[in-house]
C-alpha cells in the first residue's frame, strides 16, 4: 500500500484535535509551547501529505478504513478537491508558523490550546463541501474567538452582534435554499440573507467593524489565525456561488469593490499597526470576492490565486507585525520609529510580505493581481479602475507603514532586538514560498484554473448555463475527475 493512500487528512484533523486536549493539560507555558509546536507540525506534515496524494491522483479509498470519518459519520464528510487542496496545507502552515514564531514574552498570553482547537475547526471547514456541516463548522469556529475575548476581559458585543447576525442569516438563507431545492437557482428571498451573511463574514463595508474591533481586543496571533484563511470567501464559494442568481453576484461584486477601495484608503490613514493590518485584510478579502463574482475563468483563477497568495503573504505580514509587537508593544503609525538598524531582517520580511500582498513583481501576488485587473477591465472598466486603485492605495499603505516603523528616527535599545532563530525560520519559509511562487507561478495557476473551471461548471449545472464548456477539450484530467461535484456544494 502506497503511503499516500493513508487518510492523511483525517490524521491532520486528529493531530490538532488531540493536541488541543493534550496542551490544555500543560501548566508550564514552555511545555505547552513545545507540545503545541509538535502537534501543529504533525498536522502540517499530514496536510502536506494529503495535498501531495491529491495532486498525484492517489486514491484514498483503500486507506479510508484506517481513517475515522466512516466510523464517526458513516460517510466521508471531509475530503480535498481542486479548491481546497492547496488551501488545506496553507492553513496548516500558518498555524505551525504562528506557533513557531511565538516570542517567549508572549507564550503565556498566546493560548496554544485554543489555537489548536480553532485549527481543527478551520482545517475541517476547508475540507468540507457538505452545506450543513460547513455551516455548523462556520458557527462553531466563532466560539474560540468569543472565549478568547472573554478570557482576556475584553468587550465582546461587537463580535457577538456581527457573528450572531451572520449565523442567523446564513442558516435562514441556506434553509430557504434547501426549501426551494438545492439543485435550482435560489430565489431572491433566499439569496438576500445568504448574500448579507457572506458580506458580514467577509468584513464588507459597512459590516466590517467587527474585524477592526477583533484586532483591537484579541491577541495578535489568535486574531491573525481567525481572519487569514478568509473563511467567509470559502463560504461564498461553497454556499452562495453555485445557487446565487447573476444579479446577486453583481450586487456582491459592487459591494466588494467599494469595500476594497474603502479599506485600502482607510489603511493609508491608520495611526496604529493593528487597525492598519485589519484594513489590509478587509481590502484583500474584498478583492478576492470581486474576482470570484465576475464568474469568468480568468477572474475566478485570479481570485483563487490571490486567495492563496493573501493567506501566505498576509500571514507573513501579520507575523512580522506580531514580532514587532513582541519587542516594542503596540506601535503608532503617527511617529517614526527607526527600527531598521535593530532588526533589518524583520524590516525586509515586513516589506516583502507587504508588497506580496499588493502584488509586487516577483512575488506570489503579482500574477494574481495582473489577472484580476485584466478580467475586471473585461467585465467593466469601472471595476478594473477600482481594483487598480485599491492595489495602488494598498501599496502606499504598506510602504507608509514600513517607513513609519523602520525609518525616520533613532531607536535606542540596550538589548538585541533582532529576529530569533525560530522567527527567522518562519519569516524565511514564508518569504521562500512567496518568492518561489512569484517567480514560477504556472503550476499554481494551472491548479487554480482547474478549480475555477470546476466551480464554474458546478454553477452552470445549477443555473442552467453553458459554463466554461469551450475549455473542456483542453481541461486537465483532474478537472474531468471532478466534473460533476468539485468546487461547489456536494449534491
Amino acid at each position: 500500500m502506497n503511503i499516500l493512500e493513508l487518510p492523511w487528512l483525517d490524521y491532520a484533523l486528529i493531530s490538532t484535535a488531540i493536541g488541543s486536549l493534550w496542551v490544555g493539560r500543560q501548566r508550564d507555558p514552555l511545555r505547552a509551547y513545545s507540545w503545541g509546536l509538535a502537534f501543529t507540525g504533525g498536522a502540517l506534515a499530514c496536510a502536506a501529505l494529503a495535498w501531495l496524494g491529491f495532486v498525484l491522483g492517489v486514491s484514498t479509498e483503500s486507506g479510508e478504513a484506517m481513517g475515522l470519518q466512516r466510523r464517526l459519520f458513516g460517510r466521508v464528510v471531509f475530503a480535498l478537491d481542486e479548491l481546497s487542496a492547496p488551501l488545506f496545507p496553507a492553513i496548516a502552515l500558518i498555524h505551525f508558523l504562528a506557533a513557531l514564531a511565538t516570542a517567549r514574552a508572549k507564550m503565556r498570553r498566546f493560548s496554544f490550546t485554543w489555537s489548536l482547537a480553532a485549527g481543527t475547526l478551520r482545517l475541517a471547514m476547508f475540507a468540507c463541501r457538505s452545506p450543513w456541516p460547513l455551516i455548523v463548522l462556520l458557527a462553531v469556529s466563532t466560539v474560540p474567538p468569543y472565549i478568547e475575548l472573554r478570557s482576556r476581559g475584553r468587550p465582546t458585543r461587537v463580535f457577538v452582534v456581527h457573528m450572531a447576525t451572520f449565523l442567523a442569516l446564513l442558516v435562514m438563507g441556506w434553509g430557504l435554499v434547501e426549501w426551494n431545492g438545492r439543485e435550482a437557482p435560489a430565489p431572491f428571498w433566499a439569496t438576500i440573507p445568504l448574500v448579507l451573511a457572506i458580506l458580514i463574514r467577509c468584513g464588507s463595508a459597512p459590516a466590517h467593524c467587527w474585524v477592526t474591533d477583533w484586532f483591537e481586543h484579541a491577541t495578535f496571533g489568535i486574531a491573525l489565525l481567525f481572519v487569514a484563511p478568509l473563511s467567509g470567501v470559502y463560504a461564498a464559494v461553497r454556499l452562495l456561488l453555485p445557487v446565487a442568481p447573476t444579479w446577486a453576484l453583481a450586487g456582491l461584486s459592487i459591494a466588494s469593490m467599494i469595500t476594497a477601495v474603502y479599506a485600502a484608503g482607510m489603511a493609508t490613514i491608520q495611526a496604529e499597526t493593528r487597525r492598519f493590518f485589519a484594513f489590509m485584510f478587509i481590502g484583500h478579502s474584498a478583492l478576492v470576492l470581486v474576482g470570484i463574482e465576475l464568474q469568468t475563468v480568468t477572474s475566478m483563477t485570479a481570485s483563487l490565486c490571490l486567495w492563496f497568495s493573501v493567506i501566505l503573504s498576509l500571514s507573513g505580514f501579520g507575523l512580522t507585525l506580531r514580532a514587532l509587537e513582541a519587542r516594542f508593544g503596540r506601535l503608532s503609525l503617527r511617529d517614526f520609529h527607526g527600527l531598521y538598524p535593530h532588526s533589518p531582517t524583520l524590516a525586509v520580511c515586513f516589506l516583502l510580505t507587504g508588497l506580496a500582498c499588493v502584488g509586487f513583481p516577483g512575488t506570489l501576488g503579482f500574477i494574481a493581481t495582473e489577472m484580476l485587473v485584466d478580467s475586471a477591465v473585461e467585465a467593466s472598466p469601472m471595476i478594473g479602475v477600482s481594483v487598480v486603485a485599491a492595489a495602488a492605495l494598498n501599496g502606499i499603505a504598506v510602504v507608509r507603514a514600513y517607513l513609519h516603523l523602520f525609518a525616520g528616527g533613532r531607536h535606542a535599545s540596550t538589548v538585541d532586538l533582532g529576529l530569533g532563530r525560530r522567527e527567522r525560520f518562519a519569516a524565511l519559509s514564508l518569504a521562500t514560498l512567496i518568492l518561489g511562487g512569484g517567480l514560477f507561478p504556472q503550476p499554481g495557476v494551472t491548479s487554480q484554473e482547474r478549480a475555477a473551471k470546476a466551480i464554474l461548471r458546478d454553477r452552470a449545472r445549477i443555473q442552467g448555463g453553458t459554463g466554461p464548456d469551450h475549455d473542456r477539450a483542453t481541461a486537465q484530467p483532474a478537472a474531468d475527475r471532478l466534473s460533476s461535484t468539485a468546487g461547489g456544494i456536494e449534491p
Binding site: 517567549r104 483591537e216 508593544g329 533589518p344 509586487f360 485584466d374 501599496g395 510602504v399 517607513l403
Partner: protein, 460 residues
C-alpha cells in the same frame, strides 16, 4: 516580418538580463539569511554583474551592426498562460531604442557602483544601498529591453520601489522617510495609469507584444493599428504614467524631494536614469502618438509647460542638488517636447547625452564648494556675481511662483491629499462612534495603550 535571430545571439541577449538578476538574487539571499557579504565582496559581485551585462549588450549591438539587423526579439515564453483566456508573455527586444537605453543604464550604473563603493565606504547602509541598486539596475534593464507591455510594467515597478526606498535611505531623520513616501505615492499613481493602459491595450489588440501593438516595422518605423480615440485614451494614460516617472507637471514636486537620498542614488536615479524612464516610455509608444495628433499636442504642451516651470524653479534654488534636479527636469521636458513633435532620434540622442552629463554634474556636486574655492584662488578674488533679475514687481511675482515650484505640491496636498484624508478620517470617527456604541465604552484600546517595550528582557 522580423527575421529570427541566431541562437548564440539570443543567449547573449539573455545574459544582459540574467546578470543583474543574479546580482539581485545573490544580494537578496545574503541579506535574508543574515550573513551579509563584506563590502569588498559586494563590490566584486556588482562589478562582475555589470561587466557581464554590459559586455553582452555590446556584443549584441556589434552583432546587430554586423548582421545589419535592427530588431532582435528574445522570446522567453509565457510566464503564465491560461489557454484562450490569459497570457503573460516575457519577451526582450533589442532594437535602436532599447539597446542604447540598456547600455546607458549599465554604463551609468557601473560608474555609480564604482563611485558609491568609495563614497559609502563603512556607511551602515552600504549593503542596503547595493541591494536597492541591484533591484534598480534589474528594473532599468528589464524596462529598457521589454518586448511586451507587461514586462515593461514589471521593470517599471522595480525601478519605482528601489528609487523610493533610496530616497528614504537615511534612516535617522524623518524628512527622507516623508519624501520617500511622497515619491512612492506619485510612482504608485503612475504605475496604476500604466497598468490600466497595459490592460486596455491588451484587450483592444489581444496581446501585450509591442510588435503587434505598435506595428511590425523596427523602431521608430512602426505603425499602430489603433483608432484615433482609443489611441488618445490609452496614450493619455501612458502620458500620465510618464509624467509621474519623469516629474512632469503636475508631479514635478517629487524631484527635489528625491535629493534626500545619498549622492550616488541622486546622480544615477533622479539625475540620469529614473527620470528619463517616462521619456523612454513615450519614445516606445511613438506610433500611438502618430495615430493621434491631439495626443501629440498634449505631449508637446505638457513638455513645454514643465520645461518653463522647471527653468523658473531651477533659477531660484539655493542648493546645488535642487538646482541640478530642476535643470535635469528642464531637459527632460524638452526631450518630451521633441517626442511630441515626432523627432524620435533627436530625443533619443538628447536623452543619452543629457543622462551622462547630468550624472557627472551630480557626482561633482558634493565638491562644488571646493571647486569654487579653487577657481577663486586661481583668479585671486571672488567670482563675479550678476545682478539679481528679480527686482521688478512682475519679476517678483514670477520669483514667488518659482520659489513655490508653481504651487504644484501645495495644490496636490490641498486639493487631492487633504480632501481624501479628511473624508477617510471622518469615516474613521464614524466607525469609532459605532463600535463605541456597540461595545458600550471606549472601543479603541490601542489609543489608550502607549507604545512601550514591555517585558523586553523576557524576549530571547
Amino acid at each position: 516580418m522580423h527575421q529570427p535571430a541566431p541562437q548564440w545571439l539570443i543567449w547573449t541577449g539573455v545574459v544582459v538580463v540574467a546578470a543583474p538578476s543574479a546580482l539581485c538574487l545573490a544580494l537578496g539571499v545574503a541579506t535574508a539569511i543574515g550573513r551579509g557579504p563584506s563590502e569588498r565582496m559586494i563590490v566584486r559581485w556588482v562589478q562582475a554583474a555589470v561587466i557581464a551585462g554590459l559586455s553582452a549588450a555590446l556584443v549584441v549591438l556589434a552583432s546587430m551592426l554586423l548582421l545589419g539587423t535592427r530588431h532582435v526579439a528574445i522570446p522567453m515564453g509565457d510566464w503564465v498562460a491560461i489557454p484562450r483566456h490569459y497570457q503573460f508573455a516575457v519577451t526582450f527586444v533589442f532594437d535602436r531604442l532599447s539597446v542604447p537605453m540598456a547600455i546607458l543604464s549599465l554604463v551609468l550604473s557601473a560608474t555609480i557602483g564604482a563611485f558609491a563603493s568609495r563614497y559609502l565606504h563603512r556607511e551602515p547602509g552600504f549593503r542596503r544601498f547595493f541591494a536597492l541598486y541591484a533591484i534598480f539596475l534589474l528594473g532599468m534593464v528589464v524596462a529598457s529591453l521589454a518586448g511586451t507591455i507587461e514586462t515593461l510594467f514589471a521593470g517599471w515597478e522595480l525601478v519605482g520601489l528601489s528609487s523610493a526606498l533610496l530616497v528614504a535611505y537615511f534612516l535617522d531623520r524623518p524628512a527622507p522617510a516623508r519624501n520617500g513616501l511622497w515619491v512612492w505615492t506619485v510612482y504608485r499613481f503612475s504605475d496604476a495609469a500604466l497598468l490600466l493602459a497595459a490592460v486596455a491595450l491588451h484587450h483592444i489588440r489581444g496581446t501585450g507584444d509591442f510588435v503587434r501593438l505598435l506595428g511590425e516595422g523596427p523602431w521608430p518605423a512602426g505603425e499602430a493599428d489603433l483608432g484615433a480615440w482609443p489611441a488618445f485614451g490609452i496614450g493619455l494614460l501612458m502620458l500620465l504614467a510618464a509624467a509621474g516617472k519623469s516629474a512632469l507637471i503636475p508631479f514635478s514636486g517629487w524631484l527635489p524631494r528625491a535629493m534626500e537620498g545619498p549622492t550616488p542614488s541622486s546622480a544615477v536615479f533622479y539625475g540620469a536614469l529614473s527620470v528619463h524612464l517616462g521619456a523612454f516610455l513615450l519614445l516606445r509608444i511613438g506610433p500611438i502618438l502618430e495615430v493621434s495628433p491631439p495626443l501629440a499636442a498634449v505631449v508637446v504642451g505638457l513638455g513645454l509647460a514643465s520645461a518653463v516651470l522647471a527653468y523658473l524653479a531651477g533659477s531660484v534654488q539655493t542648493d546645488i542638488k535642487s538646482a541640478l534636479a530642476y535643470a535635469s527636469l528642464t531637459q527632460v521636458s524638452i526631450i518630451v517636447v521633441e517626442i511630441g513633435l515626432g523627432f524620435r532620434y533627436l530625443a533619443l540622442v538628447h536623452l543619452l547625452g543629457h543622462a551622462c552629463l547630468r550624472m557627472l554634474q551630480f557626482l561633482r556636486a558634493p565638491t562644488l564648494l571646493h571647486d569654487y574655492h579653487t577657481l577663486e584662488n586661481a583668479l585671486g578674488g571672488r567670482l563675479p556675481r550678476g545682478r539679481s533679475p528679480w527686482t521688478t514687481r512682475a519679476a517678483g511675482r514670477i520669483y514667488r511662483l518659482a520659489i513655490e515650484q508653481g504651487h504644484l505640491d501645495g495644490g496636490l496636498v490641498e486639493y487631492v491629499v487633504r480632501p481624501f484624508t479628511r473624508a477617510l478620517e471622518w469615516c474613521d470617527r464614524t466607525e469609532r462612534r459605532w463600535t463605541d456604541f456597540l461595545d458600550g465604552n471606549g472601543s479603541r484600546e490601542s489609543e489608550r495603550v502607549p507604545p512601550s517595550p514591555v517585558s523586553i528582557d523576557e524576549h530571547s
